[in-house]
Symmetry: C2
């Protein structure tokens, strides 16, 4: 019945692409590495946005908007940040096209409209924002500044994947300014916790909270905190990052404030972001070979009702019951649709809504009605149940809550089963190849060893978990002493 | 008391800039022609967005997202559209920076990272969207497509003004595809009506609905409908446009569909948009020399409460009353703030909230409490009233509704008084110079005359009003016969 999608076993990567396209989340575009987010995918993003936005505002942040372009001289001010992003920047060099004298109806870049200073299309906004904050901050009274922006950014990636890695993507980036180191550090951790709570409670996607090694740190940060999720193929996905930027950007843009004693000091900074990549993670964390499985809290459509009938009389009886149910469910805030279109048969609809990952499907037939029951199918387990029409809306709401928890627990069990200790190099590589998942192993703490492991085993250190257990051991590669295990994985 | 802003009489244009900056709506940026939208301005935009988005969804539209970049070959496909925007396009030509060998720590564009095909930063998205729709539309069953996107666009403007005309701006652009001309025309008018309703009901800004002359039409459109508002200086502002695109883009991108009889035809299109320019219009339509006047329906903050007290005992009594009031107002959905910060004195706060255009201010003093009253000041008329504490929240909600209507009526009276008929050229020019506003005058219907009038009088035809009265007359400039008056004005 269902549209053809490759199975996960056959080709996980192709399964993912098929799913994104056939469930109508996104489409390829005419622009290299950029995608079109289709209405169903965008509705998912809107639900993600609206919940995160609420959580940002509850923690005292306000939204604002800064320019898309960063003049090159500002872009290069914070050297590490500039160095980190220089290789993947789209650059605007001209501001006009003109008719091609040799080719009627065609246009060419007007060589006379060359910019004096090139503009970088923002890959991230620290530079443009801190050059602005300089004008806003004089004294401790101007602090903290707690700003977020929802925006598009561009990073010229060589290999792209729908949602997971695209040249242009949508994200939010928080940029805060503080009077003390302590306050900035607390902000960094607070936002990490917001991300983790969002991932687990709304996306039903368990995450490990940790800190990145120096090699994996955001360019320009003093510390990068992250949440790391595990996909069904055993690969890790960085789902969000929160950076403690120290005084790096304040120094690069000369942003000082006068404290209560009128002493000047550089301002402390954080930045933090999540992107449309979350949708890729959401898809890969839960879905199966029949299509998407979406957590009810974020699903654009939570319940679909399909009538099964012969003739207008039966249809009319079903309509009456359904209208009452729709009213109750909508009043309770449930996103519900009654699909009584007669373009397609029920079986087609069932497969279609399975593909789209609608958590609950209710089928109502004439015979069911006579028995005062309906057939309720849950997308996650594919279980079918007979529910009484009495109290149906309450039971459906309860079922949505159950599904949210069930898919979280399933993902969590999978994740927990896939954190494995390795104490020898052979074991380490074997686990990566065969069991996959996070490998907890000792590491000597050097970037050189980290690079070497990446080269040999294609695995990176995903994070040093917060509140990590301290334990004497020997580096998996070099045998040098180590005081704790870190989490390695192959990653998206 | 209030921060210095230039008065309207002294210099209207400077008054506007002062207001935007001092009320904290926006700031200049380091990027030529681009602005920073500050949190207070962005909160206004969020309120505009959320209401419009609701209205778009109620009329059956869904949001999606298309790439920021348009490959040059797609951009030039619809010739008129390309020609119209070619002169103001930011062009990406390279995708990498590298270290400057002659200047340590600096970056230069890497000449080896030149794009094979240049990318235009979207000034509008018809081209990229219709190149995508081609893949989505085969039959009448795929129609209509009713999509909107919230996005940033870039138009390289030579003279920029905060909100009114900026190189980058935020907007929404609807792009719909239809099986019939009639349906596309109805969509065009429907969205014009949505814009007009939004402008009048939410922005409290009366608008004239009309159609543009050929000269003023959107590049690539068959017809451009618009809403035109009048600012306090008597200049017109185009506040939104809705375009009937005919089959122009379908032809340019070869988008055909099979109808029920399996006959192939080109698809019919519309596009429609409003932008952050609305904020400029909102500011200029209502505000005065003391600051912003915002319509309650869109004001980020609708009510501010300021305590006036000596000592903790008085403060505590006031707090108790205010907390009860806050609870009632918040439960009713009112955006309210209790400003009991002791950094600033009440007089400073009064001036600050006047500058920011908060519609209602409540001052509560210890003596008032003894009399069971508070002082309520409305921002629009600056009237101060004594309100009983009994039933206060209900009366404040009523007052907000009154203010919304009052400022609309005030703007409407001003607008109606500034639509003046002119029957001779001398009269026409005198009215434009002295009375300002819309001048209703006959025009011979040619683009040449329109251009000449623009050159001589610096006025453009803002629109031919919908349901315009038909009336014999002679063109104001050429004396040639005309069948209706059109609305001229000097405009932003």
């Amino acid at each position: 019945m269902s549209k053809e999608i490759t199975s996960r076993e056959q080709d996980y990567s192709q399964w993912y692409n098929d799913l994104i396209i056939k469930a109508g989340l996104a489409d390829y575009s005419a622009v290299r590495g950029c995608m079109v987010i289709k209405p169903y995918g965008f509705a998912l993003w809107e639900n993600i946005q609206s919940q995160l936005d609420k959580m940002f505002k509850e923690t005292g942040h306000q939204n604002a908007y800064f320019p898309l372009f960063v003049p090159k001289s500002l872009f290069e001010a914070e050297e590490k940040n500039a160095e980190g992003f220089a290789k993947e920047c789209a650059i605007v060099t001209h501001y006009r096209l003109k008719s091609d004298p040799e080719n009627k109806g065609k246009l060419i870049v007007d060589p006379e409209a060359k910019l004096e200073e090139e503009l970088v299309v923002r890959p991230t906004s620290e530079a443009i924002i801190w050059s602005t904050y300089k004008g806003w901050i004089q004294s401790y009274r101007d602090l903290p500044i707690l700003i977020n922006q929802w925006a598009n950014v561009v990073r010229w990636e060589m290999r792209t994947r729908l949602f997971l890695r695209t040249t242009e993507f949508l994200w939010q980036e928080g940029h805060t300014a503080h009077a003390t180191k302590k306050e900035a550090e607390e902000e960094t951790v607070q936002m990490l916790n917001v991300y983790a709570e969002f991932a687990e409670t709304y996306m039903a996607m368990p995450v490990v909270k940790g800190v990145k090694t120096e090699n994996e740190r955001f360019a320009g940060a003093v510390d990068t905190y992250c949440i790391e999720a595990l996909m069904q193929d055993g690969k890790a996905l960085q789902a969000g990052t929160s950076h403690f930027l120290g005084q790096n950007f304040a120094k690069a843009f000369d942003v000082k404030f006068a404290d209560k004693e009128n002493k000047l000091d550089y301002v402390w900074a954080t930045s933090w972001g999540v992107s449309t990549r979350l949708i890729g993670g959401l898809v890969m964390a839960h879905s199966d070979d029949d299509g998407l499985i979406l957590p009810p809290k974020l699903a654009p459509l939570q319940v679909v009702i399909v009538p099964i009938y012969k003739g207008d009389d039966q249809k009319q009886l079903i309509d009456e019951k359904v209208n009452a149910l729709l009213k109750e469910l909508k009043a309770a805030g449930v996103r519900v649709k009654y699909d009584d279109s007669d373009n397609n048969r029920p079986g087609w609809k069932f497969a279609e809504y399975e593909m789209k990952g609608v958590p609950v499907r209710i089928a109502i037939g004439a015979r069911d009605l006579a028995n005062n029951v309906v057939e309720v199918a849950r997308r996650d387990t594919k279980e079918k149940m007979s529910y009484s029409i009495d109290g149906l809306s309450q039971n459906v709401i309860q079922l949505l809550e159950d599904i949210q928890i069930t898919i979280f627990n399933k993902a969590k069990n999978f994740r927990d089963e896939h954190i494995t200790k390795a104490d020898t190099w052979e074991e380490f590589v074997k686990l990566l190849d065969e069991k996959t998942g996070f490998i907890a192993a000792h590491w000597d703490g050097t970037g050189e060893t980290e690079d070497k492991i990446k080269e040999l085993a294609k695995a990176t250190i995903r994070c040093i978990p917060l509140d990590n257990q301290q334990e004497e051991g020997k580096c998996i590669l070099t045998g040098k002493p180590s005081s704790q295990r870190v989490l390695f994985a192959r990653a998206y």
